[in-house]
């Protein structure tokens, strides 16, 4: 846990996480061609406020990237159904947005996973360069689930690791009116790497 770090180590860890999330924010801005800010970072509590999704039965799009290499973990980028529709409108050709064919659906879902691919890779790159570890993100996968099931899903995912580090960011795209959540779960080796570094 991050609580295992002393003040100096904690400063390094939180700065690294902030820098990684800042890179992710920049990547998201570039992909969506719209300003994005980091509204909130939580280094302890990974529980999501699911009220923003509009109701327990609303669909939520969760894109997961598994970390491969020297550090184990997963990232989850989470959009509401409405946010997904807004991004499609803003970034994809009308011919694809308005078409429900199999081909267009593949393109839309591919667009979502590509956002996650670039955003999570921005964090991974920052961590890899700073901690001098060989890590990379696996091919992202998309899961659509109900808002009410979201926190249980994250908890189940986290239980794969014996001891875990959580951190969570809420991005805000004012023009697009989106507030995606971005949650990371790391194995405790992250803490060891920070300790070795400081």
């Amino acid at each position: 846990m991050l609580a295992d770090l002393n003040d100096n180590e904690l400063k390094v860890a939180t700065k690294l996480i902030f820098d990684g999330l800042s890179m992710a924010k920049s990547s998201m801005e570039q992909i969506l061609q719209s300003p994005i800010s980091i509204e909130q970072i939580d280094y302890v509590n990974a529980e999501l406020d699911t009220t923003r999704f509009g109701g327990p039965d609303e669909d939520v799009h969760l894109i997961k990237t598994e970390l491969m290499g020297e550090l184990k973990g997963t990232s989850h980028l989470i959009f509401s159904q409405k946010e997904v529709a807004k991004m499609y409108e803003a970034c994809l050709p009308e011919s694809i947005v308005k078409d429900d064919s199999k081909e267009s659906t593949i393109m839309k879902l591919g667009f979502l996973t590509e956002i996650d691919n670039m955003v999570s890779a921005a964090v991974i790159t920052e961590f890899s360069n700073f901690l001098d570890v060989e890590i990379y993100g696996n091919v992202p996968s998309l899961k659509v689930l109900k808002a009410t099931d979201l926190n249980d899903f994250i908890v189940r995912e986290s239980s794969e690791f014996e001891s875990i580090i959580h951190f969570k960011a809420v991005f805000h795209g004012k023009e697009l009116d989106i507030c995606p959540d971005f949650i990371w779960v790391f194995h405790n080796k992250f803490v060891d790497k920070i300790k070795n570094l400081v």
Partner: protein
Amino acid sequence: MRVLIVDDSTYIRSSLRSLLTDQGYDVIGEAKNGEMAIDLALELKPDVITLDNILPDMTGLDILKALNTSDFKTSVIMISAVGQQSAIVDAMNNGAKYYLVKPYDESELIGILRELDEES
């Protein structure tokens, strides 16, 4: 100029195909995994390959190593979200001519293709 696109994402392959075709380049093939990429590269002998780094069956580096023989003259542009220095250095040391980190500006890719066009 004849281009082979290698990426596991249908969205990326399609976007790249549109971009390159609009710019007058001839997209002669697409591969969604490493095995297909190596087969098509050897069979079609493209002038340029745009190569993703993380594919379901192997990495871009594995593909570069498989193709990195003296008689393989294709220019490889790595296009990947993997942006760490070590990955870029490894790719360049194993035959990649350029490395673009996603998200990148489309004009950067077109600029590189024009440069390669002038060289050939």
